[in-house]
């Protein structure tokens, strides 16, 4: 039987968590925004170091000013994809906050930061400098676009790679 790994999609609302899962699992990009309430679990089986692994991808509701993502959803996760919208700088702050909160409540976890919507070049507000700063702080960062598919596989693979290092 394939190994099962739980990974969570976390981030501010409307950053593209659902779209990234949909792109990664089904290779489709839904244009219309339908906000997520609660959580939906999707599955994808991949090979990690020759071992068949089923990723259980928890697509959670996004955070806004009044609603925080509860750590009870993230309990037992093997890793998290933090998603920020590269055209909305405040979503990067939200990602930082969420990571800090989850680590306080659940202990250290593998995190990869996805800077999504990189197809929107004109509105992009994260320059090379900010990116370098994040990496200096020890973040694994991947620019990506759920719309074009650019960087999506890479982002998931980056996290899965981190998982296997931390395998139980």
């Amino acid at each position: 039987m394939a190994l099962k790994r739980k990974i969570c999609m976390l981030g501010a609302f409307s950053v593209g968590k659902t779209s990234l899962v949909s792109r990664y699992v089904l290779s489709i990009f839904p244009e219309k925004y339908l906000t997520t309430v609660g959580v939906k679990i999707d599955k994808k089986t991949v090979e990690v170091n020759g071992q068949e692994t089923t990723l259980l991808i928890w697509d959670l509701y996004g955070e806004d000013a009044v609603q925080q993502v509860r750590s009870s959803y993230v309990r037992g996760a093997d890793g998290c994809l933090l998603v920020a919208d590269g055209t909305r700088p405040e979503t990067l702050e939200a990602a930082r906050r969420i990571r800090a909160r989850m680590e306080t409540e659940l202990g250290p976890l593998p995190f990869v930061l996805l800077l999504n919507k990189c197809d929107l070049q004109d509105e992009w507000c994260i320059d090379a400098h900010a990116l370098a700063a994040l990496q200096d702080e020890g973040w694994s960062v991947q620019r990506c676009s759920a719309r074009t598919g650019e960087g999506v596989e890479e982002g998931f693979r980056m996290l899965v790679g981190n998982l296997s290092e931390a395998a139980p």
Partner: protein, 575 residues
């Protein structure tokens, strides 16, 4: 199948939930992670059949990573299940393993989705407008042209408070009542606010760095409609002494927030208790005809809600619905409120004013506390009902009105007639049809359902996830006599939710009077002990089969469950 007996608290809780449409499913997972037994409506949530003795997390994806529980409970609200229902999943640590409970929350998720979607869309719109604006500095000579393209109201205000520019959207949103252009006049004329709101807005306008200030919420009456606006102020990129104010119309959101709870109350009114089911049928029946309806019930039983339901189910549903609370008014005030008045007809009548009978043309009026209406006004109402026309105070000419009248009271109007306080002919006229609402203590089986409905509504209003109501809370709610009826229950839940910290309502979150009552419940007015013995005997005789037991006792299944909950009867008691 159900090989492992449920602990009593879990059982009572599940039975109450079963009764109230939450379709529980439960399973016991041994300490080694294998699935041991399950029951309830599991196939509502899972497509694949379960297998005893196999690891639970191989069969239910949501459990991966969560087992073993190691003594800590876990909960996953609003989990999308295999069958595309939403459910709250709870894991409760027990000696020897863990209980998993699934409870349907599909309706709540749908409601919350609608609300959250609007809220998020609006926030995104605002963010987009503001980022566009940030880019304005580069081509600031086109400021006005750009502002005109925004789908948000933008108003430019000079340092002395004069409005110097409104974009097209603002002209529409803030349309001044007299149709004159607002440009060149002080903002106070454009925005007729009460003094508190005006002060908050003025502070925002004069702030050195308005971008750093929180938005101000304003309620504004424009062309008779009440609009809820959020104001955000920025410096004019061309001249920082000037301010540009953006007004976001959040009326719809506000209304949705309001409807969210009304709707769930109304929907959940189609509850399970016999008296309420009868009431709902009655509402549907009277809604179709034009008759005047008298709605009777104790305070807090939801008379206004019934009136709204009648209106909403009636052919007049697209017309206005107006509630007039008739208590505590003087003769002349209630007369002019209902029928309108001519300027100068009495001291305070400084202008011509239409009354609610005219305002509700084509719709429905609820005269709440009709028992408190003065005699003189009663005569006028009678005339309006019979002639379908009204005369404004101070006028002589009659005006035709097409309205439906509903009346509500918590008094016994026949008594009032005997005492000479109420006209008998008016009583006959309004009591063509009657809806009598039962007090909450006579439909206790609805309490868990109502409690959950209110919890969902209050949570939605506060933009949080609805907390779970613990079995001890449910027991306390069931035991309390509820003199203030459904309204009191709603208030109690609201009180508890605000105090609740961790997604689970507990007894100590409830208002003190309810807890006190729960503690005393066993003593003075506890029902005769023989009833419990009777129940146990019948259960034993029927081997626990609920339908048969209920039939044997001559009570409904719901009543049986209610009494079992009341006496804390569990399987162990009759076995």
């Amino acid at each position: 199948m159900n090989a492992t007996p449920l602990p009593p608290t879990v059982r009572i809780y599940l039975e109450a939930l079963l009764l109230n449409g939450r379709q529980p499913a439960y399973a016991f997972i041994a300490a080694d992670g294998t699935l041991q037994s399950w029951g309830g409506e599991m196939d509502r949530y899972l497509k694949q059949p379960l297998h005893k003795g196999r690891p639970a997390d191989d069969q239910i994806d949501a459990l991966v990573g969560l087992l073993p529980l190691e003594g800590e409970n876990a909960s996953i609200p609003h989990l999308m299940t295999d069958t595309y229902r939403s459910a709250d999943l709870h894991l409760v640590a027990e000696a020897g393993g863990a209980w998993m409970i699934l409870l349907d929350s599909t309706v709540e998720v749908h409601q919350q989705q609608t609300f959250q979607q609007q809220s998020n869309d609006l926030l995104l719109l605002k963010a987009r407008q503001l980022s566009m604006l940030a880019q304005l500095r580069a081509h600031n000579e086109h400021l006005e042209a750009i502002l005109n393209q925004l789908s948000v109201a933008a108003v430019r205000i000079a340092p002395d408070g004069t409005v110097t520019f409104l974009n097209a959207y603002a002209e529409r949103l803030l349309a001044t009542a007299d149709g004159t252009a607002a440009t060149g006049r002080p903002w106070q004329q454009l925005l007729p606010l009460d003094s508190q709101a005006a002060a908050a807005f003025a502070a925002l306008l004069t702030a050195e760095d308005p971008a750093a200030c929180a938005r101000v919420r304003l309620a504004l009456e424009t062309e008779g409609a009440l609009r809820h606006l959020e104001a955000d102020v920025r410096l004019d990129p061309r001249d920082p002494a000037f301010r540009i104010t953006y007004f976001y119309d959040i009326s719809e959101l506000q209304e949705l927030r309001g409807r969210l709870n009304e709707k769930s109350v109304f929907e959940k009114m189609t509850g399970k208790s016999e008296p309420m089911l009868r009431t709902f049928q009655l509402i549907r029946d009277v809604a179709r005809v034009h008759a005047t309806v008298l709605i009777e019930g104790e305070t807090g039983t939801g008379k206004e809600l019934v009136a709204r339901a009648i209106h909403a189910c009636s052919p007049r549903k697209d017309g206005p619905f107006i509630v007039v609370n008739c208590a505590g008014f003087t003769d002349s005030l209630i007369n002019s409120q209902l029928f309108g008045h001519k300027k100068g007809s009495f001291t305070d009548a400084v202008s011509n004013q239409i009354g609610v009978f005219e305002a509700a043309h084509g719709g429905t009026i609820l005269l709440d506390e009709i028992g408190d209406i003065p005699m003189n006004t009663q005569t006028r109402i009678l005339r309006a009902l019979e002639q379908r026309e009204i005369i404004r105070v101070g006028e002589t000419e009659a005006r035709k009105v097409d309205i439906r009248i509903l009346a509500a009271t918590n008094k016994n109007l026949e008594e009032e007639v005997k005492r000479g306080n109420f006209r008998l002919d008016l009583l006959y006229r309004i009591r063509v049809a009657r809806v009598v609402l039962p007090p909450l203590r006579e439909r206790r089986e609805d309490i868990p359902l109502l409690a959950r409905t209110f919890a969902a509504a209050v949570a939605a209003e506060n933009e949080m996830i609805a907390p779970v109501i613990g079995p001890d809370v449910l027991a306390a709610l069931m035991a309390y006599p509820w003199p203030g009826n459904v309204r009191e229950l709603r208030n109690a839940i609201e009180f508890a939710i605000i105090r609740c910290r961790d997604g689970m309502l507990r007894c100590h979150d409830l208002p003190p009077e309810i807890m006190t009552s729960a503690e005393n419940e066993q003593h003075p007015d506890a029902p005769a002990p023989s009833e419990k013995a009777q129940l146990l005997e019948a259960l034993r005789a029927e081997n626990g089969r609920r339908d048969e037991t209920a039939r044997r006792l001559g009570i409904s299944r719901a009543t049986l469950y209610r009494r079992m909950t009341h006496y804390h009867i569990t399987e162990a008691d009759w076995r």
